[in-house]
Structure formats: structure tokens, C-alpha cells
Amino acid sequence: MLDFLFSGWGAFWVTMGMLLPFAGMFWYVIHRKSVVDSGPGTTPRAAMSRLEGYWLTAVFVIFVTINLASLKFMPIIATARAATAGPPVQEVAVTATSWTYEMSSRQVETGKPVRFSARAKDTQHGFAVYHPDGRMLFTMLMMPGVSKPTTVVHTFSDPGTYKIRCLEYCGIAHHGMKDELTVVKSNAAT
């Protein structure tokens, strides 16, 4: 459930989950107070203040809950943990140049963390990895001239051919800047 929530479509439905109650409330208040009865409201000021308190508390609780739940899914945390401890990491060094990728390896194994360390040589580039079912797993932003590579640690669970795309506009052949990564079953797992 939480896995879905912190995917692209999860983000979409959370956004709709914020929009739809607001849209309903918005339509109801405007319709009621401009078409049905535009006369002054009879709700006492104290009741309105209580409502304000409930509303702001609800918003605050929802916001905090969502953000706390997201901690587990923040790639930054997995990346930082892998830098200090954890299972052996497969290293993939990436260099992006308009409009190709140079990669130290195009094959990794399932179940083992992979550290992607990416640099841009000429201009800004992205490095986004798409699951074979079309979902985007993660993306990275690279800028030239920085001392450290942009880094993400990701553990693949499904074997298959994963597409790689640049998601930072990098000129007239930007849409053609893509590559592939093969994920095979781990020997340890078989």
C-alpha cells in the first residue's frame, strides 16, 4: 500500500485526495451562498472559530503523517545508509554527455543494492531509470563542474530490461538520449 502511495500514481491520487474535498467544499459554499441563499450566514463566530481550529489541525496532522510515512521511501536515506554500512554494493559509474551515457556496467543483479554515481560532462543531464512496466523508479539531476557525482542507491527486485532516459532538457536531441540497463536474477538468490 505505502509502496504504491510513494510512486508516481500514488502522488497523483494524493493530490486528487487533496483537491476533491476542497473542490466539493468550494462548490458547495459558493453555490449555497450565491444561488440558494445569499443572505448573511447565521453561524456564530465562536462556531466558526472552532471550525477553523478543527480544519487547521486536520491539515497539520495529514501533512505530518504523509511526510513521516514518506521517510522510508526517500532514496537519500537508503543512499546515505549504503555509504556507511549495509550489504555489498554494486557500483555503476555513469558519465552523461550530449546525448549519450557512458556506463561502467549495463548489467546488475536483483536483491543487491546498486550505487549509481553519475556525472554530467558538458551541460545538465538527467538519469532516470524506468521499470519494464513503465513506472519511473528514480531520477537524478547532474550538473557539470561539481566535485562529487550525483548518487542514488537502489535495489532492484525484478529482472528485466530497464529503460534509462535523460529528464533534464539538454538540447535538440534531448528526447533521443536514452539507454538500457539489464537486471538479472542474483546468483545468491537462485
Partner: protein, 510 residues
């Protein structure tokens, strides 16, 4: 007759829409705003035509270079000379009437010239091959020239244009706004609706001007250095620090992000000022000025540093702590929005609403802005940023914030139009505009967010893969509906009638 009135009078078609009323003695607060508003609609027409070219290049399989040309021009024209200039025009008119000061002299003239000349130079540069998208994507402009994709002349021309536009947005307009608020003598004959700085309708304008000025200064310094080097005034080695991609990008986003927040502050303020004028019981007061002002302050304080969310996927070059900070501050803006939602709905609930097209446009624009805000805070969460950054989600967010503010300002313009021109607009056409804009705006926004959720890349000339074209078709259909709404709005402006003339039955009138 002022220069501004003369230019309007000499402009075909658009001049008819905004010819200034000289009978009221208010030409000093009407003329320059009217000229800026007129120019913004000319740019809207240009942007609309360019918007049609984007799907056409994909449908007819044309050279992808055309897609990137129109992508750059369409985005830049909508964001700056249309949306921002519309805000400047209507906002200045509002300020002038609230503080009773004329909008005359060199500052409004320079605002107008720098914005429109800058946008025109950028357009020429893009037509010369300079395709960098509206956010410049530095160091792409220089790399493109090195690779021979476009010429160095196009880069210099493009940078000059961008610099002039920025000079208007960061320096001239804020200085004009602040000088009107704090300096000069009030003239009672120009006061239309007096307001103090404690009024939520004025506070947002002040905060907005200060935000633009302060958040934009680093970019002015970087831009000036680069431009001086490009023109050979200083050696390139002296500008090397400014040409560092990280320096440029951070300065750019401190400004660009806060530009959107400043525009949001400004338009929220305009809504707080306009809504009370349409309350059914005639109270002309918000539910709570204190709450409204609190929302503005929270929005300001949380938004200033939330720009860090633009670089979450740049880890570890942007340290994790800064990304978390950007995440938390972005969601903090949501608290400001929640207070604003309560204030607006409570005001309407307690006092009723006269549902005229202008105020309904303002309210629906604000509702669209709330949708945009929800999409923005979601993508600012560190976990979601990794699966949404660089996708159509971001384009949807950028487009929606511009559309929302445009709709709000177009709604506010309904209120100001009779004062500026001495003519009135047809409410039936106004209602049709609002209906079409709402369907087109919400539809395009949701379609783009869905495309982003599906992983569809932004600024990408080849949508016809992975099933993304379904979102492309939806974006095009809703985009056409949006275009139709603008045509209705423009037709209404063209058909405006003298204030004393009876309004006949028009399209859709009941």
C-alpha cells in the same frame, strides 16, 4: 494625451480593446496600466499560436527542432510578457487607485520597454536557433554555441533579452510598486478605493515587491557579470565564477521560485481586496483580516527557502539537510494555503456572494491555484521528488500556476476594466469565458499531472511511446478549450460597450 494612450490608440485591434477613458480625469492611473495589459494580450495571442505548433510538430512528424523552438517561445511568452505583464498592469492600476498616486514618469515607461523589448529580443534569438526552454537550463546556452547548435550571436541576443525582462521583473517593477506605496504625494482626485498597508489587499503587494527585489538580486549580479563578459566589457576569466552551473542554477531558482511565490502573494492580495466588494450583504470585509494577513506572512516565510526542493535529486551535491528543509518549508506553504481557504470560504459563508463573472473568475483561478499548490507540495516531498522530477508533473505545475494567476488577474481586470476604458463587458460572455477556462485549465492541469505520474518526460519532443500519447491528446484537447476561452475573453473586450449603453442579449445569455 500621454504616450501610453497614444500607443494604444495607434494599435490595431488590441487598441480598440483598451482605449483609455479620458473623460474621468484618471488618465494618469489608467494609461500605462492599460498599455501593459494590452501588450500582455498581444503576447498571449503569440503564445497561443505557438502553443498550437507544439502538437502539430508531433502529429505531422515535423522536425523536432520546431518543437523545442515553440516550447521555448510558448513558455517564455506565457510566463513573462503575458502573465507577469498582466499582473504588473492590473496590479499597478489597483495600487494607483488605492494610494491615490499617478503612474507616470520614466519608471512605468522603462518597465514597459524592458519587458517588451526583452521579450522581443529573446523571440528573435529563439528564431535564430536558441532553444533553451524558458528556464534557460544553464550552461546549455553556452554549450549549444560551442557545439554549433546555435550561434554565439543568438546567445548574446537571447541573454540580452532575458536580462531586460529580468531588469523589469527584479528591479524596475518592484521599485515602481514600492515608490508608489511609500513615496510621493497622495492626490485625492486619484483615490478610487483607499487602503492602508495593514489591509490584506495591500500587504501582499508590498511583500511581493520586496520578495522580487531581494530574491532577484543574486541573479541580477550573476546575469550582469555574464552579460558584460559576453559583450567583451570584462574578460571571460572574470566572469568564470558566474558561469559555474551550480552558481547560476541556484541564483536562478532563488529568483524563479520566489517569482512564482511573489506573484501568488500579489494575486492573493488582489483576491482579498476584490472578494469583499462582491459580498451579497454589502459588508465589504473579509471574515478576518488578521487571518488573511497571517496566511500571507506564512506563505512568504515558508516559500523563500522552499526553492531548495528544485535540487532534491542532485544529492549529495545538495546536502540532504537542505533537501529536507526544502521539503518541510514547501509543505509549510500548505498551512498558509489552508488558512487562506478558510478565510475565503468563511467570508462567503458569512456574507453571501454576488456571483458576477469577474469574481467567479478570481475564485476559480484561486481554486486552480490550490490544485497547483497541492501538486507542488507533493512533488517537493523528497520521496516523491525522485519519481516526479523532470516529468510532465513539473510542466503541469508550472503551467497551472501561470494559468491560475492569469485567470485571477483576468477576473480582477473585469473589475478594473470599466474604470480604465469607461466601457463595460458582457456578463454572458464573461460566464462563457469562466466556464471554458475552468474546464480547460483544470483538465489540462490534471492531464499533465497524470502524464507525470505515468513517467512522461517534460520538455520532450517524442511523446509517442510508452502509451504517453493519450496524455498528449488530453493536453491538446483541454489546451484548445483554454484557447477558446481566451478567444471569448478577447471577443468580449472587442465588443465592450459604453457604460451607459444597455447590454443586449449575447451568446449564452439567459
Amino acid at each position: 494625451m500621454t504616450i501610453a494612450s497614444t500607443i494604444i490608440a495607434g494599435t490595431p485591434v488590441f487598441g480598440r480593446m483598451f482605449s483609455v477613458d479620458k473623460s474621468t480625469g484618471l488618465e494618469e492611473i489608467n494609461a500605462w496600466p492599460a498599455l501593459m495589459i494590452m501588450a500582455s494580450f498581444i503576447w498571449l495571442a503569440v503564445a497561443g499560436l505557438l502553443g498550437l505548433v507544439m502538437p502539430a510538430t508531433q502529429m505531422f512528424d515535423l522536425d523536432s527542432g520546431h518543437f523545442y523552438t515553440t516550447l521555448t517561445l510558448h513558455g517564455a511568452a506565457l510566463a513573462f510578457p503575458f502573465s507577469f505583464q498582466l499582473m504588473v498592469g492590473v496590479g499597478l492600476h489597483r495600487s494607483g487607485g488605492c494610494v491615490g498616486k499617478p503612474i507616470t514618469g520614466w519608471l512605468p515607461a522603462m518597465c514597459f520597454i524592458t519587458m517588451n523589448l526583452g521579450a522581443a529580443l529573446l523571440t528573435v534569438a529563439v528564431l535564430m536557433g536558441f532553444k533553451v526552454s524558458l528556464v534557460v537550463m544553464f550552461p546549455l546556452p553556452l554549450v549549444g554555441a560551442q557545439m554549433g547548435i546555435w550561434s554565439m550571436n543568438a546567445v548574446i541576443l537571447g541573454f540580452t533579452g532575458i536580462y531586460l525582462v529580468l531588469a523589469c521583473m527584479i528591479l524596475l517593477y518592484p521599485l515602481l510598486g514600492l515608490s508608489m506605496l511609500f513615496f510621493g504625494k497622495k492626490r485625492q482626485d486619484l483615490v478610487l478605493s483607499e487602503r492602508s498597508l495593514n489591509d490584506p489587499g495591500m500587504l501582499g503587494m508590498t511583500l511581493s515587491a520586496l520578495t522580487l527585489l531581494i530574491a532577484g538580486l543574486p541573479l541580477v549580479v550573476v546575469g550582469t557579470t555574464l552579460l558584460l563578459a559576453l559583450y567583451g566589457v570584462i574578460p571571460m576569466s572574470m566572469a568564470a565564477w558566474a558561469a559555474e552551473p551550480v552558481v547560476f542554477q541556484y541564483c536562478f531558482y532563488i529568483f524563479a521560485h520566489n517569482l512564482m511565490e511573489a506573484m501568488a502573494l500579489m494575486v492573493s492580495s488582489a483576491m482579498y481586496a476584490t472578494l469583499p466588494l462582491y459580498l451579497a450583504d454589502g459588508t465589504r470585509k473579509l471574515f478576518s483580516d488578521k487571518l488573511a494577513n497571517t496566511a500571507l506572512w506564512i506563505l512568504l516565510l515558508t516559500s523563500v527557502t522552499s526553492f531548495l526542493h528544485h535540487f532534491i535529486t542532485f544529492y549529495p551535491n545538495q546536502p540532504a539537510s537542505l533537501s529536507y528543509w526544502g521539503n518541510i518549508m514547501s509543505w509549510g506553504t500548505g498551512i498558509g494555503a489552508a488558512i487562506s481557504i478558510f478565510t475565503v470560504l468563511a467570508t462567503i459563508w458569512q456574507h453571501g456572494l454576488r456571483a458576477e463573472p469577474g469574481i467567479i473568475a478570481v475564485l476559480l483561478g484561486w481554486a486552480l491555484y490550490i490544485l497547483d499548490g497541492a501538486s507542488a507540495i507533493v512533488t517537493s516531498n523528497v520521496a516523491w521528488a525522485y519519481v516526479l522530477h523532470g516529468t510532465m508533473w513539473q510542466s503541469g505545475h508550472t503551467m497551472t500556476v501561470i494559468l491560475a494567476m492569469s485567470l485571477m488577474w483576468m477576473g480582477v481586470l473585469y473589475h478594473h476594466y470599466p474604470v480604465i476604458t469607461g466601457r463595460k463587458l458582457d456578463p454572458a460572455l464573461g460566464t462563457w469565458f469562466v466556464r471554458l477556462f475552468t474546464v480547460g485549465g483544470f483538465g489540462a492541469a490534471i492531464a499533465m499531472l497524470a502524464g507525470g505520474a505515468a513517467g512522461m518526460p517534460r520538455r520532450f519532443a517524442d511523446w509517442n511511446q510508452e502509451g504517453w500519447m493519450v496524455y498528449g491528446h488530453m493536453i491538446m484537447i483541454f489546451g484548445l478549450i483554454l484557447g477558446a476561452s481566451f478567444v471569448v475573453y478577447a471577443y468580449n473586450l472587442l465588443q465592450s460597450r459604453d457604460l451607459n449603453e444597455a447590454m443586449g442579449q449575447r451568446v449564452g445569455a439567459t
